[in-house]
Amino acid sequence: MSSKVLTKPLGDVPVALPPLQRVTLTINGAEKQLEVAPWTSLLDLLREYLDLTGTKKGCDHGQCGACTVLVDGKRINSCLSLAVMQEGKEITTIEGLAKGDQLHPVQEAFIEHDAFQCGYCTPGQICSAVGLINEGHAKTTEDIQELMSGNICRCGAYVGITAAVEQALKVCQSNAQ
């Protein structure tokens, strides 16, 4: 038994590429102006055009959380956003969390609790934890587990991640007081 299968693009194919667009973003405190294709995701802009490779690509479909960054303090999956949609926004990536040599409390806690193994999901986990702390909803360990569940860790470092976020949450709360 055999059959013919054809895969081809649907409909007419535009041959000319879409023109580049200008976008201005503040990334880790520095203003960046770039000319990018409108189909460039925020994730690809960071990794391929600005060499900010700390933000990771794990699925490119918003399913794993490795690409989590903070936009005006809120955590988003940067693979699900086009760069041009973020015009004028303030973006914080993993490279922008430490103040000089002083690590962010979440970063400190991740090292202390060995909250990672391979480290590939780690920047996303950390940015997500910072976003979680900013949101202020997490009151219990169960809350943290639930609210950190958008970030997959294939190495299975969840016990350490939960402990690290719990510790950092306390540190950030006491720093804020």
Partner: protein, 741 residues
């Protein structure tokens, strides 16, 4: 054991800062001016032939440099042997873009290379392909017959039968037999496979590859493309998870190097998450376990038969049934292993390959037998405790499994268990407790390392091994600092580079054992040179001492028992005018000593689950895993490895399954939203106990390796706990809630 400064102490990862700041760079993150991007086009059918491929539209897009297909791609090597890497199995490896034939779903059929990633991706969608498709065969269970597995690759030894298992089973007072099945699993490390090939002005390649062995990638590339080692350096400082998937070069490496050589450009090829499902995987297996026992519970017969999938082209084998011949005392054992060729990509080693699945069946069957006997599952295991490894006819070099059972049970509270299934509930939740045993090998391979101590007190140690999250950087730094009595901050460990001394594949739980021994030997060689220099110093307090009389501690060489009689290492070098001391060693296992013993790690796993009586929802509330893995170099990272193993075990029991549509031979859930792995909210109270063993047979360090043992047995313990909770036995993994309703 002598007091230590670092070994056995919880040390934070030396690469931790790089990983939490985003400084750690993975294979697809080395950017350079003029880098171009390759995007792989995957086959839309599983079996058949490409009858027409039209790349004209893709090529018409501005920015597209080339589209490689089987019609125009080079064929740099002819023979299969050129494509054989260090982890290759018997048969013919994939030769990308060599022919129009399609042998598995999502086989790479074209590579589009363009100036930007976005253009390459877009143009890839414009490649028109016409196929003549044939009906694929991908269902292992449709025809449970196979052929005898060949003694395919190193590591797989066909197990020896003993006694007469058939007869003993028939004569046994109590007989139990059941069939177990589990579906394929894909590694799905979070970093997708990627290779960045940088070409310098002379045309030499520097290849950043995601791999568990830079040397293996280099070997493959030099053989296939006829390059010298100097022309193809492979570098891999950080690996975003491996779990075995990086033990063989994946096709993006071939494609990136091919494109770089053809176009004389630097090229990056990164796979998509969907394409990660076109690679090797843990094969589906169908297993039958038969256990015969006396009324009192003594095992009289064990029969274990496994049928496993492999591809059409290669005979992938793994050690599935052998463990059943080692786990328990039993005089009549028959072990059989069959393969069946299907239209799938060649399976690959995936964390605890063979043991994760074979022990799953055996340890579930042991649990079932315990109920049939009316015996406590732990008591049954203790009654049949194997003091020697009957499979190999050798004693164990060390085996603290009894202590694992005792400490794990104590910690878990096993003695309070109500033996009756479905006897414990909290509201609508049924609570169950289950346990299982785990086993893995403690191997050592040949490995080389070099160490360089400079007069400023800095020690640089190097070996071309990998750190896939296992903590290699940290463990090696600890061993080096301990050996020479230096602060760990003074030590830098380098890995993942083919210009460094050669290390074996990073897998099988043998890295600390193998590379750690080489690191220790290289540092000891420096120590001996330092000692000679120290004796020469004017008024040296060590003048009359032998090397055995001294110790290295706090940056000094001191007399054992009289630490005040000491000299500073830095001062010794300064005063003797030595700027640096460099030593390189190759550490070989002591075969004569090792061959007399079976060398294994063991574990005892205890699990508590709750199951919603109405909805079948399963939650693993608590796991205690007691591990006998020799000496623990770094309890902090070691614990993480075991925790990760437990999560993998829970995943295997409850979540992971690559679901195939057998009409089309395609994986239907090839993404991270439908291929389930545990998320944070799925994981609760996990506890790890290390029962240390003092074992000088396995290697001079006494460390047995911990990468796999944390996983083995966990899935069985979860399934056994579910049975205890519900009274329902599920032998088809993963145990999803629909199977409980």
């Amino acid at each position: 054991m002598a007091a230590t400064t670092y070994v056995g102490k919880p040390i934070s990862r030396v690469d931790g800062r790089a990983k939490v700041t985003g400084e750690a760079k993975y294979a697809g993150e080395f950017n350079t001016a003029g880098l171009v991007y390759g995007y792989v086009v995957s086959s839309a059918i599983t079996k058949g032939k490409i009858t027409k491929i039209d790349t004209s539209q893709a090529l018409s897009i501005p920015g597209v440099l080339q589209v490689f297909t089987h019609e125009n791609a080079p064929r740099p090597a002819h023979f299969d042997r050129s494509f054989k890497d260090d982890d290759a199995v018997a048969g013919a490896p994939l030769k990308p873009l060599y022919s129009p034939e399609i042998g598995f779903s999502m086989q790479p059929i074209a590579l589009v290379v363009a100036d930007t990633f976005e253009i390459a991706r877009y143009a890839a969608s414009l490649v028109e392909v016409e196929y003549k498709a044939e009906k694929p065969e991908t269902d292992l269970t449709s025809k449970p017959k196979g052929h005898k597995a060949p003694k395919g690759k190193s590591g797989f030894t066909p197990p020896k039968d003993r006694g007469n298992a058939k007869k003993a089973f028939e004569m046994a007072d109590v007989q139990f037999e059941a069939e177990y099945v589990h579906m394929p699993e894909h590694h799905n490390a979070l970093e997708m496979f990627s290779s960045t090939v940088l070409m310098d002005e002379e045309g030499k390649l520097k290849i950043y590859d995601k791999t568990q062995s830079a040397f293996n990638s280099q070997k493959y590339i030099t053989q296939v493309f006829g390059l010298s080692k100097d022309e193809a350096r492979v570098v891999s400082p950080f690996v975003g998870g491996g779990f075995g998937s990086g033990l063989r070069p994946q096709y993006q490496l071939y494609l990136a190097v091919m494109a770089a050589l053809e176009l004389k450009r630097s090229v990056r090829v990164t796979l998509t998450r969907q394409q990660m499902f076109s690679l090797g995987h843990r094969p589906a297996t169908l297993q039958t376990v038969s256990l015969g026992a006396s009324e009192a519970g003594a095992l009289q017969a064990i029969k274990h038969e496994a049928l496993s999938e492999t591809s059409r082209g290669e005979e992938y084998t793994e050690v599935i049934v052998n463990w059943s011949g080692s786990l328990y005392q039993c005089d009549n054992v028959k072990l059989d292993y069959y393969l069946r060729n299907l239209d799938v990509s060649t399976p690959m080693d995936m964390r605890a390959p063979g043991a994760a699945t074979g022990v799953l069946a055996t340890e579930t069957a042991m649990d079932e037998l315990s109920y049939k006997l009316g015996m406590d599952p732990l008591e049954l295991r203790l009654l049949n405790y194997a003091e020697v490894n009957q499979l190999e006819g050798k004693p164990f070099s060390s085996k603290a499994l009894r202590e694992c059972y005792a400490q794990g049970a104590e910690r878990f509270g096993w003695s309070r268990r109500n033996p009756v299934p479905r006897s414990t509930r909290e509201g609508t939740k049924l609570i169950g407790w289950g346990m299982a045993t785990g086993i893995w090998d403690a191997q050592q391979k040949k490995a080389a390392a070099k160490a360089n101590l400079s007069v400023d007190g800095k020690l640089v140690v190097a070996s071309g091994t990998a750190d896939i999250g296992t903590g290699t950087y940290t463990a090696m730094s600890i061993i080096a600092a301990e050996t020479l009595g230096l602060p760990i901050e003074a030590v830098t460990f380098k890995l993942g580079d083919t210009t460094l001394p050669e290390a074996p594949l990073e897998g099988g739980s043998w890295t600390v054992s193998s590379v750690g021994t080489a690191v220790q030997e290289a540092c000891e060689a420096i120590g001996k040179k330092l000692f000679k220099l120290a004796k020469k110093l004017k008024d040296s307090p060590l003048k009359k001492a032998a090397f055995e009389d001294i110790a290295f501690a706090d940056g000094r060489i001191q007399l054992k028992g009289n630490p005040s009689a000491s000299v500073s290492i830095i001062e010794t070098m300064r005063q003797t005018g030595i700027n640096y001391i460099e030593e390189e060693t190759t550490a070989l296992p002591n075969f004569l000593k090792q061959m007399k013993y079976s060398r294994n790690t063991h574990s005892a796993v205890f699990v508590e689950v709750e199951v919603d009586e109405d909805l079948g929802q399963i939650c693993v509330r608590r796991v205690v895993s007691a591990i006998a893995g020799g000496r623990v170099i770094n309890p902090k990272t070691a614990r993480s490895q075991i925790l990760g193993g437990i999560v993998w075990g829970i995943s295997m029991a409850l979540h992971e399954e690559s679901v195939l549509d057998h009409d089309f031979g395609r994986i239907m859930n090839h993404n991270l939203s439908e291929y389930h792995v545990p998320v944070n909210a799925d994981i609760h109270d996990l506890e790890v106990i290390f029962v240390e063993e003092h074992d000088k047979i396995v290697n001079p360090l006494g460390a047995k390796g911990l990468g796999e043992i944390g996983l083995v047995g966990v899935a069985a313990a979860v399934g056994n706990a579910i049975y205890h909770a519900t009274g329902k036995r599920v032998r088809d993994f993963p145990i999803t809630l629909d199977k409980l309703l």
